[in-house]
């Protein structure tokens, strides 16, 4: 690849894209950019209040709670008797026994504490206002915060039954000083593989979601989703009617063309992200964290655009890329500052950068290396089929995918190399599964996760081998199948040691993280535990390869068998890991 050629193509791609933008679209882009630039700083300056007035507090105007309700933007004071979530009356506080009622009560309590603190802070005699000084030191704990029970009431409160609601009798002198739902929780821990419910979920946190993080996450993802639309169209335009054929005859390499076409969109995405980072007060680290994610958005779109046969199919591709990668980045980021599961997402680095929470090297590597490496491999696969014989054919997407997978496998050894190169996808997929299943009860999440991991890893070890047999790259013989399967198994075994990166942020400290990554980590142990994963990977990869060498149907059956063996192994290891 030559930098001069890449820059030339990038310059002309920029010119061409700018020329193709009609006036209306350009105006729309400017309006969106201006709106984004205006809204995000405003959100940061004033604090996001998407929940403004969501809790209705029934309170008389002369009640001291009226001032409390007025002090918190999430509370709206209404007259008692109307449809309030919480009603303050001389006999106590009534609230609906619903999730919203409990959340309203919790917010009222927090607001009361904050209100009282503010009033006391204004007292001229601070010693009288605060006769006792309590220093609180919060220490991180490896266990999760347990789910708050609805009847975890404040100190000094009593609970009486009622029709459709509960009645708290608050201590009126200091407001609702009950225990916050997030405080004082006792670590539950897991009693076994199929034990009690997973803890630390958003519903147990007050406020339920870190809303600021959500807004920031969306702000950083939005440009990526817009940029891939233009990028995908540009790549597909090269393939429609063989428009890109003359470029393939020019004295530039395929890599030059792909890099040159991609560079303007990557630079555009980074420029937009930088503007948002500047507006939100995020530092360079945030931009660096989003860069691999931007590359992954573009790489997935590039490969999809190389497979799509029409703009209609490209729409499906870009929507799928948007949904999958937005979910991958967004879901873990929801747990920023709450749980180490958030370290999976580059957006957590962004949030931590904005809130000055500090980002460890391990967290940065875990959140950026998998999408960065996955982007690299996807671009590699796409560039492999960026040639006349592949890019202008109108084959179905699965057929093109097989072509792309089979193309690099000239020798059995290459199967092992490519299995190793697939590891970023394996890591991304497994982290994605962990993030999605994190909020589910352990009794459901761990079995599903183990099954998902078995499927992901066995497919990663065998799909390209199957493609190579289908495309005639390998001779269909038992001996070849064993050789290729062994190479693939060894490749995976070597590469999976990269999963050790999850230890850098303590992900295996989570039960679900331990379930996902314990088998790989156990493989790092000496002796038998080092050899066992190697044998297991080789055996399962060989099973799939033998099936792939016979026929498509035989491959499906062999893959199912390999997944079964893998699942059995994983369950055995996880039972040991979780004790």
């Amino acid at each position: 690849m030559k930098a001069g050629n890449v820059l030339r193509i990038a310059r002309w791609e920029t010119t061409r894209s700018a020329t193709s933008l009609d006036r209306e679209t350009a105006i729309a882009f400017v309006v969106v950019a201006v709106a984004l630039a205006a809204i995000v700083p405003a959100v940061v300056t004033t604090g996001p209040t998407p929940g403004e007035g969501i809790y209705r507090i029934g309170v008389d105007d002369d009640s001291p709670y009226a001032d409390v309700a007025a002090s918190d933007p999430q509370l709206a004071a209404v007259q008692p008797g109307s449809d309030a979530d919480v009603t303050v009356s001389p006999v106590g506080i009534q609230y609906a026994d619903t999730a919203k009622g409990r959340a309203a009560l919790s917010t009222l309590r927090s607001a009361t504490v904050a209100y009282n603190d503010a009033v006391m802070a204004d007292e001229p005699d601070q010693a009288a206002a605060f006769p006792v000084v309590v220093s609180l030191t919060y220490r991180p704990q490896s266990i999760d915060v347990t789910s708050a029970q609805a009847d975890t009431d404040g100190a000094g409160s009593s609970t009486t039954g009622g029709d459709g609601g509960r009645t708290d009798t608050p201590s009126t002198d200091d407001g609702a000083t009950g225990t916050s739902p997030t405080a004082g929780a006792s670590g539950g821990g897991l009693s076994g593989l199929l034990g009690q419910a997973q803890s630390g979920t958003p519903s147990s946190i007050s406020p339920p979601f870190p809303l600021q993080s959500l807004v920031f996450a969306f702000a950083f993802l939005l440009p990526l989703n817009i940029v891939i639309q233009a990028y995908g169209s540009s790549v597909l335009a090269e393939r429609i009617d063989r428009r890109g054929e003359p470029l393939l005859v020019a004295p530039v390499s395929r890599g030059d063309i792909v890099a040159g076409k991609t560079l303007p969109y990557f630079a555009g995405a980074i420029a937009l992200v930088s503007v948002i980072a500047a507006a939100t007060g995020a530092g360079v680290l945030a931009v660096l964290a989003v860069a691999p994610l931007a590359a992954l958005f573009l790489a997935a779109t590039f490969l999809g655009a190389m497979f799509a046969r029409s703009y209609k199919e490209l729409t499906f591709v870009t929507v799928a890329v948007s949904v999958a990668l937005t979910t991958y980045a967004f879901v873990p980021a929801v747990f920023a500052e709450v749980n180490q599961i958030a370290a999976i997402s580059p957006l957590t680095v962004v949030v931590d950068s904005i809130t000055d929470s500090g980002v460890s090297t391990g967290q940065f590597v875990l959140s950026t290396a998998p999408p960065g490496l996955a982007a690299f491999v996807l671009f590699g696969l796409g560039t492999g089929v960026y040639r006349e014989e592949d890019m202008f054919t109108q084959l179905p997407i699965p057929s093109k995918l097989l072509d792309a997978l089979a193309a690099p496998l000239a020798t059995p050894r290459r199967a092992g190399v490519w299995t190793a190169l697939f590891l970023p996808f394996v890591l991304v997929a497994e982290l994605f599964a962990v993030a999605l299943l994190f909020v589910a009860p352990v009794s459901l999440s761990i079995p599903v996760l183990l099954g998902a991991i078995a499927v992901i890893e066995e497919v990663a070890k065998s799909i390209h081998v199957f493609a190579a047999f289908e495309r005639g790259q390998y001779r269909r013989s038992f001996r070849t199948a064993l050789a290729v399967g062994a190479a693939s198994g060894v490749g995976f075994f070597v590469a999976e040691k990269a999963l050790l990166v999850t230890q850098l942020v303590g992900l295996p400290g989570l039960d679900i993280g331990r379930a996902a990554f314990a088998p790989a980590l156990r493989g790092a142990s000496p002796g038998l535990l080092l050899v066992a994963p190697l044998v297991w990977h080789v055996v399962t990869a060989a099973i799939s390869a033998v099936g792939a060498a016979r026929s498509r149907l035989a491959y499906v059956g062999a893959l199912a068998a390999a997944i079964g063996v893998h699942l059995a192994y994983n369950i055995a290891v996880v039972v040991i890991a979780l004790g």
Binding site: R16, P246, A250, P251, V252, G472
Partner: protein, 287 residues
């Protein structure tokens, strides 16, 4: 200038080009003709390095096909010529000149010269608004921005109206006169006949016939003679007061001459009927 040895191309189980060999000298115009699916386009694309051969060797200007140095000396015109619709001819051609490392001043000079010769005036309008003929002219100009020694043109006049076709064929002839080495494929045999020095007729991925047009006619065409006599001889039929006999060799003509003399007359006219290129093409390709 161009050397192709035992060239093969297989797509899965289909053999598109099967052991083709040929040489093209500097300044020569070499034509490929054949029915659809004969392997012409695959051969041309392998020549440009656009498609990798399954077997065989190609050298162009001393470089292997596909080599970057080779690409700098070659201009390619594919069968279809969609351009970037939003670009103007000038910007499109400057883009390609830039890729070939042609400096701006030289590029502008070449672009204007090529568009002048091709009689294309709309140089600052988006090519998306162009007719097929105008688009074709821009594509031909693109093949010249690097001032290549070798031109590979695949069906340059395909689908064009007669006027534009004539312009394109004339222009190709001018390029040949300028000393460019041209490999040219066409369905229309008149184009081949009017432009090419040598021709190869392809069938099922192989060369069914190759050589100059005269050679091919001699080898594969048929020649017959109509001999007119003023007296009746064997097998003759009356024709406007004379007698005509159709034979296919000069020996037979001599025999008729002798027979007419024996009958007290003589041969008054001899007319030669040769196969057209179409006749040869249909015969060779088995169409």
């Amino acid at each position: 200038m161009i050397s192709v040895q035992r060239l093969e191309k297989r797509y899965g189980g289909v053999t598109a080009v099967d052991g083709v060999s040929f040489d093209v000298g500097a300044g020569e115009v070499f034509g490929l003709v054949g029915p659809n699916g004969a392997g012409k386009t695959s051969t041309l694309k392998m020549l440009c390095g656009l498609v990798e051969p399954s077997a065989g060797d190609i050298t162009v200007n001393g470089f292997d096909a596909g080599d970057t140095a080779m690409r700098r000396t070659l201009g390619f015109l594919p069968e279809e010529s969609p351009l970037y619709d939003e670009m103007t001819p000038r910007s499109y051609l400057r883009f390609f000149a830039d890729l070939y490392d042609v400096d701006r001043a030289t590029a502008n000079e070449r672009i204007e010269a090529a568009l002048d010769r091709l009689d294309l005036d709309a140089r600052d309008r988006p090519v998306g608004d162009f007719s097929k003929g105008m688009t074709r002219k821009v594509a031909i100009a693109r093949s010249l921005v690097n001032d290549p020694d070798v031109l590979v043109y695949d069906e340059p006049a395909s689908g064009l109206d007669p006027l534009t076709t004539n312009t394109v064929i004339e222009f190709t002839r001018e390029l040949a006169a300028d000393g460019k080495t041209i490999v040219f494929s066409a369905h229309d045999l008149h184009h081949v006949e009017s432009v090419c020095d040598r021709v190869a007729i392809m069938r099922d991925g192989q060369f069914a016939a190759t050589g100059t047009l005269a050679d091919i006619r001699d080898e594969h065409g048929e020649v017959s003679y109509r001999v007119f006599t003023d007296v009746d001889v064997d097998d003759a039929r009356p024709s406007n007061g004379r007698y005509v006999t159709t034979v296919d060799s000069m020996a037979d003509v001599d025999a008729i001459r002798a027979a007419a003399a024996d009958a007290g007359g003589g041969v008054v006219d001899i007319r030669t009927d040769e196969s057209t290129l179409e006749d040869v093409f249909l015969d060779v390709t088995g169409a």
